[in-house]
Amino acid sequence: MRLHESHYAYPLIESVHVWCMAAFFGLALLFDLRLLGWTMRRVPVSEMSRRLLPWTVVAFVVMVLSGSLLLFAIPLRTYQNIFFRTKMLMLALAGLNVWIFSSRVYRRVETWDLDALPPRAARVAGALSIALWIAVIVSGRMIAYNWFDCDTQPHSAIIRSLAGCTTPDSRN
């Protein structure tokens, strides 16, 4: 694939990916902090959700599109990258957390909309969300620095199997 070799396209797409991440994470974080009762305590939770989350959806869509392009530029090496695999796992867990929050906790929001300190279940969802998105960002940044690359041997058997290395183990 030529994208990785392009002088401007790859850096530009990666920049768009990072900037969308900043907008997405920043606005999602403010919502999560509201769930924890750490900011905007006088603003109804439903207003935060209605006013901010559409922007996070837009940023998320652009992030997925730009991220897919980055993946397709370097597909095999990325697929066998232990940090990429960690990132996808954390992303799935973050998605699961959003699904559980919106299908259970947020459905009864009118009973706690104005609470400065939302109920425990909402606070747990907020804290989990922050932790999981930070894990996505950190493992995402590590993809480019992969010091467990299958081609730079030797690695322990567990690292090789977690990364899905198919090259022969250099220690044999």
């Binding site: 850096p11 990666e14 920049s15 990072v18 900037w19 991440m21 900043a22 907008a23 997405f24 994470f25 920043g26 606005l27 999602a28 974080l29 403010l30 902090l33 900011t39 905007m40 305590r41 006088r42 603003v43 207003e47 935060m48 006013r51 901010l52 922007w55 930070i134 960002i137 950190v138 940044r141 590590m142 480019a144 620095y145 010091w147």
Partner: protein
Amino acid sequence: MLLPFFSWCEHSWIGQTIQGSVWLFPVIESIHLVGLGVIAGAVLIVDMRLLGFGLRSQSAEEVAANARPWMIGSLVLMVASGILLFLSEATKCYYSFPFWFKMSSLALAIVFTFTLKRRVIRQNLDQRYPLLGKATAIVSLGLWFGVAWGGRWIGFS
């Protein structure tokens, strides 16, 4: 003139330790990135409010008061992690246009945020002069985006 200082930074104990490690630079960079997300949220929510998006039923002053501790906290985190990253590649930064562009934008963004923008919000000037509020938001977004552009591009230069 500054080159000997930049070179001294890179040869400092901290600069050499980060350079000599495979994982220290990426880990510090990740902390810098998380800080970027926090500051982006804290800046965006206020500028969006000034532009008439986001938390429209709250005053810009109320939104800014809530966002301020997160903005200042993340700024401190970013400057601290940024200094560590700089120490490990100071000579490269000296010759990097994006680095100087980023530092100039950062200085302007900080001065603008804590003087003119603060005044517009504190005195609720955006309510009397909506265009002034919008102009303030656009300048703020432009300056902070300049910082973000330079930051990402240091790594590509």
